[in-house]
Amino acid sequence: MHITGFLNLSVPPFKIHGGIKVPHLKNTSNSKCEILKDIESVLIPMQQHIGAPCIPIVKVNEHVKLGQVIANSENNFSAKIHSSVSGIVSKIDNIIMPDGSTTKAITIESDKKFELYANLKAPSIKSPKDLVNAACNCGLVGLGGAGFPTHIKLDLKNNQNIDTLIINAAECEPYITSDNRTIIENINDVIDGIKIIVKTLKIEKAIIAIETNKPEAIKILDKRINSKFSNIKVIKLESRYPQGAEKVLIKSCINRVVPIGKLPADVGCIVMNVTTIATLSKYIKTGIPLVSKCITVDGSAISNPKNIVVPIGTSIKDIIKFCGGYKSPPKKILLGGPMMGICLADDNFPILKQNNSILALDERESNLSEPSICIRCGKCIKSCPMKLTPLFLEQSVKNNDIDSLNKLNIMNCMECGCCSFICPAHRPLVQSIRLGKKILRNSKTIKKR
C-alpha cells in the first residue's frame, strides 16, 4: 500500500505524512531542574484534565497537608486533585480558565513546611486493577499536555489485546525540554515505570520514541536500555513537528494507522508520555501523588530561562519572578509550547498538572502580522499530518457549510498548527478550524433537539 513502508523493509521509524521543520529553540536542554518552594499560596483549579471537573471536599479554613486529596469526582472519567503544599484553605471560588470556561478553584496558603499527609503509602502492584487504582489515586493525567486521565487509559477492556507500549519522549514542540530533563535526571523512575506497566498489563514490548534533537537523553537511554532489556527498544525519530502527536507517533513507531474516532488501544498499543511514566513510578515507590511538575520557563521576554520543579497551582507570576522576571515587556504569555500553547490574559494564572512549559514572548516574537489573501499554494495540505485540506476547511467555515465540513473530516484535525505555521499568507487556519468544529458541534445538538 505504502511504497515508503515497503522500501523501509519494516524498520522503524516509518514514514509519516506531512509535518514541518520548526526551529528547535531547546535553549534549556542542559539546565538542571531547580526547585521552587518559597511560595505564599497556590491556586488549584478543579479542571486540570479532560473529563468531569472535580468537586472540592475540603472547607475554607481547613488545614491540609501535602498530598492530601482536596477534590474528587463521582464520575470515573476524571482525576483526583491533591494539595500541593501544606497549609490552610483560604478561599474556594470561581476562576476563568484560559479557554474562557469557568471552574471552581481552591486557594491554599502555604505554611512552607511541606508536611506530608500521614495516610500516604506506597501501593503494591500485583494485578492490572492495582495499577489502575495506583494511577487513579496518584491523580495522574497525561503530562504531555493533553491531560487525559491515566487510569482510564490503563483500564483495558477484556477484548483489547495490547502488544506495544509506546513511551512518548518525542517532545516535538520548540522550547520545551522538561521531558528531556526527566529522562536525564530520573532515568531510573522511567525504566522502573516501564517495567511495572509491561509486566502488569502483560505487554510484549515497549518502545521509547525520542527525537534526535535530544543527544544527551539519547546517550543515557542507549547506555541504560541495553541487552538486559530485550523487550524495550529505543527508536530515534527525525526531529519533525508533530512527531509527538499520538497518532503520528504510532504510525512512525509501529506503522499502524488509528482509524478516525478510534483510540490507540484499538490498534493494540498504549501511548504514554515519559514524564507520566516517571511520575507513576515515583508514586508506586513512595506513595507521593502528582503534586509538583517540572516545567520549562523560556521565551524571548524571560531573563533566565530554566527548568524548574514547582508545586501544582503556583502562580505564573511567582515562577517568572524566580526566573529573574521579564527581560522585556511580554506581549504573549503561553501555557504550553509555541505551536499548541494557549494564551493567558495575565500572569496570575496557576500551573496545572498537564502543563509542561511557560513561555513569555516579546512583541517581535509574538508575530502579530496581518493575514493576506490565500494564494492557494497548497503548502497547508502538504504539511497536514492528518491529510486534511485546511484551505478548503477555512472556506467551508467561512461559508458555514456544515455538509462540507463533515465531508472534509474537520473533526480529525488535532490543531497541531502545521498549516498556520507554513502558510505564506499567514492565514489563521487553525483558528478557523476551531470555529468550524464549534459550528459542527452546535449543528449536531440542534439536530438532536
Binding site: 504573549k332 494557549i342 509574538s366 494564494i375 495540505i381 491529510k387 480529525n412 505564506p424 487553525v430
Partner: protein
C-alpha cells in the same frame, strides 16, 4: 508587568515565508530567461519586458484605487504577470498592444474577479489569447534571432518551428539555446530549465505538474509519429509547464489533482499541435485546464489519515 497581553489562537510561531518572498523567487527564476532573450532579440526585448511590467503594476494600483480596495502591489504578483506576459509576445509587437495586454491581464482577468488568489485563469495567458485573437497578424510575426545585429530587412517570419507550413527545421542545439524565432520567453529552453530548477530547489513549485505535462507531450507526440524532443523544446511548452501551469492560483492544490492537470494540459497541447489549425496549443491547453481546476480538486481531495470510508458521527 504593565503592558496588556495579546490573546490569539495557536500556533504562535510562524515560518519566515510570505507571499512576497514566493513572488520574488519566481521573479528571480525568470531573470535568466529575460537575460537570454535580450541577448537573442536585442534591447527591444528589455523595452517590452519593462513596458508590460510597469503597465501591469500601474493597472493593479489604479484598479485597486478605483475599486476602493487596499493596495496589493507590494505582493509583487503584478510584476510576475508583467514579465510572463512579455515572454508571451513577439519582440516586434507594437508597444500599445503590449500595454493593452497588461491591462486585460490585471484588470479584466485578475482584479475584476477579486485580485490575487481569486482569478480562475492565468492572467498572462488569458491576455495572450485575447491579443492573439484580436491582433492575429501582430501576434504571429516573429523575428529571427540576432537579426538586430545585421539589420536585415526580411528578418521577420510568420512561422515558428512549430508551424505546419514551415520547411525550417532547426537542430536540437538551436532549439535548446534559443537560436529560433518565437516569443520572447519561449525560445531559450536552457534558461527556462535553469529557472525551473531554482524554483524546485526553493520549494516554490513541485515537479509534479511540469513532469506530467512535459511527459505527456513527449509520449503523445511519439505515439502520433512526431519528433518528441523537438516538440518538448519548441514552442511555449517549457515556459508554460514550468512557469504558467504551476501558477498556484490556477492549478490544483491536491497531489492527484496536479497529476490530472498536467496530463490534461499535455493531451490538449498535443491535440492542438498535431490536429488543430493553430501551430501552438500551450496557452489554450493551460487556460482550458485552469477552468476545470475546481472540479479536479473536488474529485481529488485526499482521504484523511485513518479514514475508513464513512464520516464519523461520534463527536
Amino acid at each position: 508587568m504593565d503592558s496588556k497581553l495579546c490573546i490569539s489562537s495557536s500556533p504562535h510561531l510562524h515560518s519566515k515565508t510570505n507571499t512576497r518572498k514566493i513572488m520574488l523567487d519566481v521573479i528571480i527564476a525568470l531573470i535568466p530567461t529575460a537575460i537570454s532573450t535580450s541577448v537573442i532579440f536585442g534591447a527591444r526585448a528589455i523595452l517590452l519586458i519593462c513596458t508590460t511590467t510597469i503597465s501591469c503594476v500601474l493597472s493593479e494600483i489604479i484598479s485597486r484605487i478605483i475599486m476602493r480596495r487596499n493596495d496589493t502591489s507590494s505582493d509583487l504578483s503584478a510584476i510576475v504577470t508583467g514579465i510572463l506576459l512579455a515572454f508571451n509576445l513577439p519582440v516586434n509587437i507594437n508597444v500599445f498592444i503590449a500595454i493593452l495586454g497588461s491591462v486585460i491581464a490585471i484588470v479584466v482577468v485578475k482584479q475584476l474577479f477579486g485580485g490575487l488568489g481569486q482569478n480562475f485563469v492565468n492572467p498572462a495567458l488569458c491576455a495572450r489569447i485575447i491579443l492573439l485573437i484580436s491582433f492575429p497578424k501582430d501576434m504571429s510575426t516573429y523575428t529571427f534571432p540576432f537579426s538586430y545585429l545585421t539589420h536585415s530587412l526580411d528578418a521577420t517570419t510568420n512561422a515558428t518551428p512549430l508551424s505546419h507550413s514551415t520547411s525550417f527545421i532547426p537542430n536540437y542545439t538551436d532549439l535548446f539555446c534559443g537560436n529560433i524565432p518565437g516569443s520572447l520567453g519561449e525560445v531559450c529552453s536552457l534558461t527556462l530549465i535553469l529557472g525551473g530548477v531554482y524554483l524546485v530547489i526553493r520549494k516554490v513549485i513541485s515537479l509534479t505538474i511540469p513532469l506530467t505535462y512535459i511527459g505527456t507531450v513527449f509520449i503523445f507526440t511519439f505515439i502520433f509519429g512526431k519528433d518528441p524532443i523537438f516538440h518538448v523544446l519548441s514552442g511555449g511548452l517549457l515556459l508554460g509547464a514550468i512557469f504558467m501551469a504551476t501558477d498556484y492560483v490556477t492549478s490544483p492544490v491536491t497531489f492527484k489533482g496536479k497529476i490530472i492537470f498536467g496530463i490534461g494540459c499535455g493531451i490538449i497541447t498535443v491535440l492542438i499541435r498535431v490536429f488543430g489549425n493553430l501551430p501552438e496549443g500551450v496557452s489554450f491547453a493551460i487556460v482550458l485546464m485552469n477552468i476545470l481546476v475546481p472540479h479536479i480538486e473536488k474529485l481529488t481531495i485526499p482521504k484523511a489519515f485513518g479514514w475508513e470510508g464513512k464520516v464519523n458521527e461520534k463527536i
